[in-house]
């Protein structure tokens, strides 16, 4: 059936659909690095981050996207981390942020069959 073109398209909603999203990456990390649960998204890690100074990489943002199962942006950006460890130094909650990066890469490899 020929679909009409009225000069505009219908927009997709941008709400995070919590139920529908795949949260396996976060669950993989929670089970192996329990300190991930302590993250309060304060942004201390991102403030000091070497990578974030020159690229769009925000570790805080990637943490929360993983928790909500919004994995697309994480998949593209997690490889940029230089593993310098400054984030772990800063974290007020004692989250092992460096290990989270390693585990995220493992999880993407396992569930997505996608080396990041």
């Amino acid at each position: 059936m020929q679909m009409a073109d009225f000069g505009f398209t219908l927009s997709k909603g941008r709400q995070i659909d919590y139920e529908a999203n795949d949260k396996r990456i976060a669950e993989y990390i929670y089970s192996r690095e329990p300190s991930f649960r302590l993250c309060i998204e304060c942004g201390g890690c991102t403030a000091t981050c070497t990578t974030g100074n020159f690229t769009e990489f925000s570790l805080r943002e990637l943490h929360i996207l993983m928790k909500r199962g919004e994995n697309a942006k994480v998949r593209q950006n997690i490889r940029k981390c230089m593993l310098c460890g400054k984030c772990t130094l800063v974290c007020p909650r004692g989250v092992n942020t460096r290990n989270i990066v390693f585990l995220a890469k493992e999880a993407f490899q396992m569930f997505d069959n996608h080396a990041v």
């Binding site: 059936m1 679909m3 009409a4 073109d5 009225f6 000069g7 505009f8 398209t9 219908l10 927009s11």
Partner: protein, 353 residues
């Protein structure tokens, strides 16, 4: 869902609605798209309920569309509105009956502005006098015409020929009510029932025998948004809001949607056609679309008037499925005939026809 909880809220948002002697100001969009509505309102008020409703043909658009599209500045719209108040004063009326929800929002906003910033009121008096030589008073009572029909819903119920019941199943009709954002979201106290659980349309629907559906996106805006929708390239995101509402109400299988705002009525009616053409999606049962009626049209059906005299054939979504459920007799071949029986051209892309 507990009705008692809603009743407590409605009790908090009681509104003074005048009884008689109204100065009527019309709606730009409703006259064009739903011509039977305002005509029926006047007929019902004057000839059935015996009320005095006065119109001055030299009243203009309130310019609300222009104001909300950043074309008409606030001083201008205040002066235009003041001119309507001046016409009211000259004709000796103190109660204004407003047909359009955008107008209602404009009038309410302006009266609030004048209350909090009296200098604006004084300036408007000056502008109006300089431009037209007229002077005005602030109306004593300001009601939307849906408020007025809400007020007289029992009188209408007493004269009802067709209660809002599915004649085949005996069940009350499932009615989705949609309230224009400018009716109560800006000033909750200016709406019957407030902003979260409005009562004006649900009161009518329930008094006339129907059952009102609450669905997750009930409070969501239809997306009209003026400057968004008026520009074709922007229209997609405007229309998407209506699509969101329909997707949310679809599982409840509503029989009809009623609105009290011209823009919302146009959107809910017209975009069912647009979305069907663009994506093939429909929101009624069995590929049908859901009829969208104004409250005056619904009152007209309840009182037993001929649907084609009410102008239902001019909607995008034709109302036959609803008329069948109500058990109303109609002749579809009469739809596009003039008053004296001449055949007009029949539109090609009618939905539900």
């Amino acid at each position: 869902m507990k009705q008692e909880g809603k009743k407590k809220i409605w009790a908090d948002y009681q509104k003074e609605i005048a009884d008689d002697h109204f100065f009527y100001v019309r709606s730009c969009i409703r006259q064009s798209f739903f011509p039977g509505s305002e005509q029926f309102f006047l007929h019902m008020m004057r000839n059935i309920l015996g009320k005095d409703v006065f119109e001055n043909p030299s009243h203009t658009t309130c310019t609300g569309i222009g104001y909300h599209s950043d074309i008409v500045p606030s001083q201008t719209i205040m002066t235009v509105v003041a001119r309507h108040f001046a016409l009211m004063k000259e004709a000796g009326y103190k109660n204004i009956a407003i047909s359009c929800v955008t107008s209602f929002g404009i009038y309410t906003e302006i009266l609030e502005t004048w209350k909090h910033i009296p200098e604006e009121l004084e300036k408007t008096r000056e502008y109006l006098f300089k431009a037209t030589g007229r002077e005005f008073d602030i109306p004593e009572n300001m009601a939307h015409t849906s408020d007025i029909i809400y007020k007289f819903r029992d009188e209408i119920a007493a004269r009802a020929k067709n209660r809002l019941v599915n004649k085949k199943t005996g069940e009350p009709l499932k009615i989705v009510e949609h309230i224009g954002c400018h009716y109560a979201k800006m000033f909750p106290k200016s709406g019957v029932g407030g902003a979260e659980f409005p009562r004006v349309l649900s009161g009518m629907a329930e008094t006339w025998g129907g059952q009102v559906i609450d669905y997750p996106e009930r409070r969501h805006c239809c997306g009209f948004g003026f400057r968004q929708y008026l520009v074709q390239a922007n229209r997609g995101y405007s229309v998407s809001n209506t699509a969101k509402k329909f997707a949310s109400m679809q599982p409840y299988e509503p029989d009809v949607v009623i609105t009290n705002c011209p823009g919302c009525n146009m959107f809910m009616d017209r975009w069912q056609y647009t979305i069907k053409e663009m994506e093939g999606t429909t929101y009624g049962i069995n590929g049908e679309s859901i009829p969208v009626l104004t409250y005056e049209e619904l009152a007209g059906l309840v009182l037993g008037y001929n649907p084609w005299d009410l102008g239902l054939q001019y909607h995008m979504v034709q109302s036959e499925p609803l008329l069948d459920k109500l058990g109303i007799e109609y002749d579809s071949s009469d739809k596009f005939k003039t008053g004296d029986g001449r055949q007009m051209p029949v539109p090609k892309n009618l939905i539900n026809a």
